[in-house]
């Protein structure tokens, strides 16, 4: 009987703990978003963060996009040629990239590259009392430190995803025309004819905007809410990558169902 009650109590306690965390995460989000006016007065902070969140991820995203596009070219050619539809290879590559792989793979890589770095940075700032130090200098650490990082992440994600898709299409082109003998002109004209701006590109951008908000939010919250020890920071960093990956894949399903469902 008492084991049952203890179990129930533990369940309730961990449930409350989780709910509180979710509550804190939302409060933090509101506070970060509200810092935008303050941030626009010091655009240098945003630009510096765009560099460290965005520009430093460019190489990784570019190389990944190129390889994913090349694999799509190989696999797509193999399947399409069974139906003698090799000419539509360009459309297949471009549509998969713009609609799905661009936003999703970029977000997963972003969580691993930039998200974990954000968590570790903020977490260490907390552990070394830098955030309290800012508070004591009458500087709001949320507005000064977190807000520019949030907006930088949200702005960088669609740009990175666009680059991923563009390089992927190029990769597919090289493999298709160079290795497999698909006609280059057809590759491009098919893409131009069949990829719809609203249906494909806008929806892809919406996806990566959503992923940008979610991944950066998770990373910043995990850093800000970390237990201020080295172990705490290491756990938070891991949680950032795991939670971001799950959130991106889950949200991708929901968004895809909403956008392309009918």
């Amino acid at each position: 009987m008492s084991i049952l009650l203890d179990g129930l109590q533990a369940l309730g306690a961990s449930g409350m703990h989780t709910l509180r965390r979710i509550g804190r995460a939302h409060l933090l989000f509101v506070a970060m978003v509200g810092g935008v006016i303050d941030m626009l007065r010091k655009p240098g902070l945003l630009i510096a963060q765009l560099f460290s969140v965005g520009v430093l991820s460019v190489l990784l995203i570019a190389v990944a996009g190129l390889f994913v596009g090349m694999v799509l070219g190989l696999q797509g050619f193999y399947i399409l040629s069974q139906f003698s539809a090799e000419a539509t290879l360009g459309v297949m590559v471009a549509a998969s990239l713009v609609r799905e792989l661009g936003p999703v793979v970029t977000a997963l890589l972003f969580a691993g590259r930039a998200g974990s770095a954000l968590t570790a940075e903020i977490g260490l700032m907390k552990a070394t009392e830098q955030l309290s130090g800012l508070e004591m200098m009458a500087v709001d650490p949320i507005r000064r430190v977190l807000t520019p990082r949030l907006y930088a992440g949200v702005l960088a994600m669609p740009l990175l995803a666009a680059m991923f898709s563009a390089l992927g299409v190029l990769g597919g082109y090289f493999v298709g025309t160079g290795l497999l003998g698909v006609d280059g002109g057809t590759y491009w004209t098919q893409i131009a004819a069949k990829i719809d701006f609203n249906e494909d590109i806008v929806n892809g951008v919406i996806k990566s905007l959503v992923f940008g908000v979610v991944c950066t939010w998770i990373a910043l919250f995990q850093g800000y809410d970390t237990v201020p020890t080295s172990e705490g920071v290491s756990r938070s960093t891991t949680r950032t990558v795991v939670h971001s990956a799950l959130a991106v894949l889950g949200l991708d399903f929901v968004l895809t169902a909403l956008m392309f469902g009918n």
Partner: protein, 275 residues
């Protein structure tokens, strides 16, 4: 300019009444009254882990008491809204035990940070101000170093320069002497005293260095077990008959203050688990 010649007839700068605070189930303060007089150096002493750092965080509004009132310059710290609290904090400096420098900025930029945040001074004026503050702590030559290139003692002196940067009305020092060699310790003692007298900055000084602190303090509070054990001038405290105060100020190993964090008897612990 306000006269500090007779601080006794002014209201205290910091007034704490009935302060209660707990961390989880551990009671840190259980009804503490403290007055920090204007224009004085008030030392807060007590065994490690009694809550001296916690007291400074309560005064600066980083923590919220469970009961009691803390007033700074007549303002109830925990009844202020965020903007008012920030305005009050611009008049308080705090030297963290760890220094708390921003690791992505160099020494110069760290000291310049609060000035840049809160004023629109020109670059050349900021430069002069920062160099003066750095000169005061003897580290003008380190202006170009990054925090990771500083020793612990240097980092704390830079943090002191930063705490002075906005010319606050009071500075809270959390163990400023830890890790200082005798020379910089002497310089720091003189600096704290002269900031206090010349710039009229009231000081709250948390320190374990009894002799040095007693030499510059006007008032000493000894805190232990959640209570103020005794307070008074250094002479009165050093000659106190109270066994707690005697033990602490004279560093006697035996006495009412336990060296150990509360624990069951050692024998029980050793025999109990997996024995």
């Amino acid at each position: 300019m306000k006269s500090v010649s007779d601080p006794s007839d002014e209201k205290p700068l910091v007034r704490i009444r009935g302060l209660k605070f707990r961390r989880g189930s551990r009671v840190i303060f259980d009804g503490v009254d403290v007055d920090i007089q204007r224009g004085q150096v008030t030392a807060v002493m007590g065994p490690s882990g009694t809550g001296k750092t916690t007291l400074l965080k309560l005064i600066s509004g980083q923590l919220r008491p469970d009961a009691g009132v803390i007033e700074v310059d007549g303002l109830n710290v925990h009844a202020l809204n965020r903007a008012e609290l920030y305005r009050l904090r611009m008049r308080m400096g705090m030297l963290f035990q760890s220094g708390a420098l921003l690791t992505d900025l160099n020494v110069f930029e760290n000291v310049a940070y609060p000035i840049r945040e809160h004023t629109d001074l020109t670059e050349s004026l900021i430069r002069k101000l920062v160099l003066i503050k750095l000169e005061a702590v003897g580290l003008r030559g380190a202006a170009g170093l990054m925090p990771s290139e500083l020793s612990g003692g240097m980092a704390r002196r830079i943090a002191l320069a930063r705490a002075m940067a906005m010319d606050p009305m009071m500075i809270m020092y959390d163990e400023p002497f830890t890790g200082q060699d005798p020379i910089s310790m002497g310089a720091l003692l003189k600096l704290i005293r002269s900031l206090n007298d010349a710039a009229h900055i009231s000081s709250i000084l948390v320190s374990h260095d009894v002799q040095e602190t007693a030499a510059i303090a006007d008032e000493i509070y000894v805190i232990s077990n959640g209570h103020v054990i005794q307070h008074g001038t250094p002479e009165r405290m050093m000659n106190s008959d109270d066994p707690w105060v005697r033990q602490f100020l004279h560093g006697l190993p035996d006495g009412p203050v336990p060296f150990h964090y509360p624990a069951p008897p050692l024998a029980d612990d050793l025999l109990g688990e997996g024995g």
